[in-house]
Amino acid sequence: MAAANQDTTRPQNTRSIMGFLQAHAPFSNMDDDHLAHFAEHATLRFYADGDVVLSAEDGIVNRFYVVKQGRIRGERHNEKAEKTETTFEISQGECFPLAAIIGERPTRTLHRATGDTFCLSIEQNTFVTLISESEPFRDFCLRGVSSLLDQVNQRIQTGAMASIGSSISLSTPLERYAHRNPIVCSPDLPIRKAVARMHENNVGSIVITDDSRHPTGIFTLRDLRTMIAEETCTLDSPVRQTMTKNPCCLRAHADAFDAAMLMAEHHFAHLCVVDEDNRLIGMVSERDLFSLQRVDLVNLARTIGTATHLRTLVSLRTDVSRLVDAMMAHGADSGQVVKIITTLNDVTVRRVLELNIKKNDPGIPFTWLTFGSEGRQEQTLLTDQDNGILFQTPEGMTEDQVREKLLPFARVVNDELAECGFTLCKGNIMASNPKLCLSDREWDDWFVRFIDASTPQNLVYSSIFLDMRAVFGPKEQLDELLDRVSTRVRKNALFQKMLAGNAFQRKPALTMFRNFRFVSEGKKHSLDLKRQGLAPFVEAVRVFALANGVKSANTLERMDELVEKEVFEAKDAAAWKDAYSLIQAIRMRSHQEMLERGEELSNYIDPDDLNQLDRRILRESFRQAQRLQQKLEVTYQL
């Protein structure tokens, strides 16, 4: 009651404006008195669709604006392209122009209303008063929009964090985790003495170094166990006989994520940290990276990689989902998490293949290919199989004879992978399909037809076959094949243009009026984060990557390489990578939530279920996709 009384001392309209402000950052963190100061000194203006709100001609900016209703778009004239580009968009609850009012200069961007728009604004002196008195407001204004992105990342982490309660960040440099002065010994030390030294220091591993402190091997308690069980040598033999040679090493500036990935890939629990001259300076164990045993990436990868039954592999899949939750809690960004998922999926696929070869070897060497999102290393928990086989026809055999042996084998593998949770591909893009179990020559022909005789139907497959990677078997043939494909695409301008036109069809989920555009089929009010959010990025980036000879298949890596090749501007690429990663993060968080509720995973979300901040982020991310498509449009004159 006291609060209510206090409230009535402020006019209704002041209170309602305070209420409006409170729903948005940074105002949500500001004191009531500061909000009241804002509301009481504000002016409310109306701008019809297309009206100029602020422009360079207005001179030094003397008001600070908040959009109360409608939207403002920023326009800059692109002299080169002779046209006007929308550089940003400001929607309800957002502020402008931050840089100009703080820099006491005119704005460089024309601010124009989109739709019926109301803006609250305060004069510069009120702005200065608030900046000097309100810390959250000051932080926000001085840090600009970046703090908004920080907030989102923070939220994604704390959401997953709730179940884990720890705050180790995977992007922390390795030196923070590394044990300085690791226990070392020379290669000639008897095992007995090496174990005694480990025991004295209460550690599970010892690094074997040469005279100049270069690590040459590592000996762990597990090696000791194997040695005794298998009686390979005696305790008096020198440690070099039983150590693991050439231990994995990382530089001190690598981050914890790099270390975790390396460990997962090679199933090691220990890594040496070295300086520029390869001299040992520290030691990192899996346990150091994840002080909580629940986040057990390496162990999980190892368990998958050594499982002896399909049953075990199937049961391990739930651990993968739990791990993803934990990874997000530890500050892994969405790019890192999808790579982890891909790594674990690769391990699973390899193990299924190995188990089947053991059981029923087809007797012909082959390379297991993956396409699409797995090829791009962008898998999430919701994934289906897109795979194929590449083989070299042995002498004296025809290609069809090889297929006779490989196809039944592939059929079993496809089915077993399905049991592990990799849904069978509805389009039959699987290794057991005779059309996708081909020799290197046949693959070559296939791509010639695909690229030179590009039909619209063919283009549908571009998102699958142009993102290809070897998961199992020799990689050399695939590299050669990819080289030839790349050369062919670069020479064929028509194919590039058709590819670009196809990518251009993938419209981000925004209407002309910058509202969310919902999927038309069936589900009302829902967005497809994969098709309407990620695909526009993936497809457009692929066109640029193929046209410019970029080798990697991963979308983020492709963008990095495109910056190096000066196809993308660094600033643009950074915005696009952020946008892409944020959509991915929102998608993965929603997957985790669906799992928790025991629902079937889907890529659909209702934006109304998101909080206001995420909705804004999503809208801005979609707008970045539109910008990327604009670049496609200009480059290929679509």
Binding site: Q12, N13, T14, F20, H41, L44, F46, A48, F118
Partner: protein
Amino acid sequence: MLEQIRQWIERRRAGQTGNTAPENMPNPKTPGDQLLSECRLIVLDLETTGLHPAKDEVIAVGAVAIKGGAIDLSDQFDLILKRPELDITKTVLIHGIGPEALTQGHETEDALLFLLEWMNGDPVLAYHSAFDQKFLEKTLKAELGYTQNHTWMDVADILPAFFPDALTKGKGLDNWADHFGLEVSARHHAASDALATAELTLIALNKARKNGLKTLRELHDKLRYQRRLKDIHRI
């Protein structure tokens, strides 16, 4: 608001504000060549005990001012004159003002004098303004003996005059607010309704400017013409 009135009353008692008798209040302005882009307009909404000016009374006055084509929130009026649930007919309680600051028995008079001074004789806009005009004029006459007439304009006329093709679901304030997607914070609260009415007025003034209307007189004339058209249609 109350603080402002308290200070105003104190100034008046100290004789600092000159003669504040009703006859010395600012004179109402007639619609002339004042530029719409510059002049001050009052947008007002009353809360009353009922619909009949003859027997019902004003409970609350909410008003905002439009100046230079914008709503200036530092220039607003939001006052509850009477609390009907207390059923004290004559001793009007001005909620929250301590008795020591008031001239006993003259609370309503003081508040209305302050309102008149705040209005500054500027034209008054309201939604279905005839209603508010009757109530306010009746109250001003009864309490202060004030009989001068302000220029009143009806926002319910202004909107269809500038947006003849708008497909609103009805003719009410809510319909127009919905049409333009406005969020009204507390509907039927005088000040909140006044703000919504003022926001709609801004939209209409934006359109008026684009139609080449510049002065208050031009706006006033257009409304008179519009009203006449409507009357012809009615016949």
